[in-house]
């Protein structure tokens, strides 16, 4: 008998698994440093179809179209990218009730050095709240699996967009 336990899964392993458990195969994203291990893990896993988009709005359009045609998807981006989205969220997935799941790495808080990022960050939750888009901020590893799975599951069950915010408390933030 060896005493070598498998290493505990990291936040990005947990999130990747939650996507698979909910049949989310399409990942449209705009690159981000904090999301890098998540996106690299997704690219390494043949379960997923994943690619970079030029702009976050596009990614929302792509995932909306795929969803209506029977393929579940997720949009990944950083906080400032999310801030470009209110018009398309309101007029497309919210108005048409299409469950677009979003994963946003939170930047602009807990030691941010860029004033612009800090101000943009304050717009994120009010935008989500104003459209009734449920969002949960993932801060703890022991809650990560439950929060990710249940948020994604509810989005599809209720046909409404949802957003998982990856806090620096969980990811370690931008180095």
């Amino acid at each position: 008998m060896t005493d070598q336990a498998a290493p505990a899964p990291a936040w990005h392993d947990i999130l990747r698994q939650a996507l698979k458990d909910n049949d989310v195969r399409l990942v449209a994203y705009v690159p981000d440093n904090v999301l890098r291990p998540l996106i690299e893990g997704i690219h390494a896993d043949p379960y997923f179809t994943a690619f970079t988009c030029a702009r976050e709005e596009e990614a929302v359009g792509i995932v909306t179209g795929a969803n209506m045609a029977g393929m579940r998807g997720v949009v990944m981006m950083q906080t400032s990218g999310f801030a470009t989205l209110p018009n398309v969220l309101a007029s497309l997935p919210v108005a048409f009730q299409v469950p677009v799941v979003m994963v946003v790495s939170e930047r602009g808080t807990m030691g941010e050095f860029n004033p612009g990022q800090a101000i943009v960050c304050r717009t994120m939750r009010p935008i989500l709240d104003s459209m009734g888009i449920e969002h949960h901020t993932m801060t703890r590893l022991d809650e990560a699996a439950f929060m990710a799975d249940r948020t994604i599951r509810q989005a599809f069950a209720t046909r409404w967009p949802a957003c998982l915010i990856i806090s620096p408390l969980l990811s370690g933030g931008r180095k």
Binding site: L26, A28, T49, F51, T52, C53, A54, R55, E57, E58, A59, V60, G61, I62, V63, T64, G65, A66, N67, M68, A69, G70, M71, G73, N87, V88, A90, S91, L92, A95, F96, Q97, V98
Partner: protein
């Protein structure tokens, strides 16, 4: 097919939309862009469940169509988008070119104006920007202007029978949309999703 804008016949969006829809025999999906592109699609075949009418999110007809094309590689998918709309999301041409969806075609209705807000000219028109050349430079090799109705028909046939992605540019007149869609997004989504659940 036509590579430059020098000898393009100005055509009519409503008439060409009817022409396009008339050639669809295999439950092809058609995504109509905001405003007049939508309205003429509605006029050409509002009974088609495979039509999707975007209400807002200007510029996203091609990305929505691209998403449908990813989800259903056996189904041919068309985006009908205005030049002003596409100008808002030119980056999507590179995104699409990078992924090479073989079943996607983007039709650009180019009248050089923001017709729905009062006919103001687009900066692209003022600068004589060639939208098809942008598509080709973005990496979509099969991108051509339709010089006249016959060439439009030929390009649609090519889109229906060969691997894309394809871009078809059309210079159109200033006639406003002849119809207006209902404004019922939930019904549009339900109808479209039900139609997409039918095998090609």
């Amino acid at each position: 097919m036509t590579d430059t804008t020098d000898n393009l016949h100005v055509m009519n969006r409503a008439a060409l939309t009817i022409r396009l829809v008339g050639k669809l025999e295999n439950r092809e999906a058609v995504i109509g862009g905001i405003g007049n592109s939508n309205w003429d699609l509605w006029g050409a075949g509002k009974e088609r469940g495979e039509n999707f009418y975007m209400l807002g999110s200007m510029g996203l007809a091609a990305p929505i169509a691209f998403g449908v094309a990813i989800a259903q590689p056996k189904r041919r998918v068309f985006a009908l988008e205005g030049d002003g709309s596409l100008l808002m999301q030119l980056g999507c041409l590179s995104t699409i070119a990078a992924q090479k969806p073989a079943n996607l075609t983007i039709v650009i209705w180019d009248n050089g104006i923001y017709q729905i807000t009062g006919g103001q000219g687009t900066p692209a028109a003022a600068a004589r920007t060639d939208m098809v050349a942008i598509a080709r430079a973005s990496g979509i090799a099969s991108a051509a202007w339709a010089a006249d109705e016959a060439e439009f028909d030929a390009l649609v046939t090519k889109a229906l029978t060969t691997d894309g992605p394809h871009v078809i540019g059309v210079k159109i007149d200033n006639e406003p949309g002849r119809n207006q869609t209902d404004r019922d997004p939930i019904r549009f989504r339900e109808t479209f999703s039900r139609a997409m659940a039918q095998a090609v």
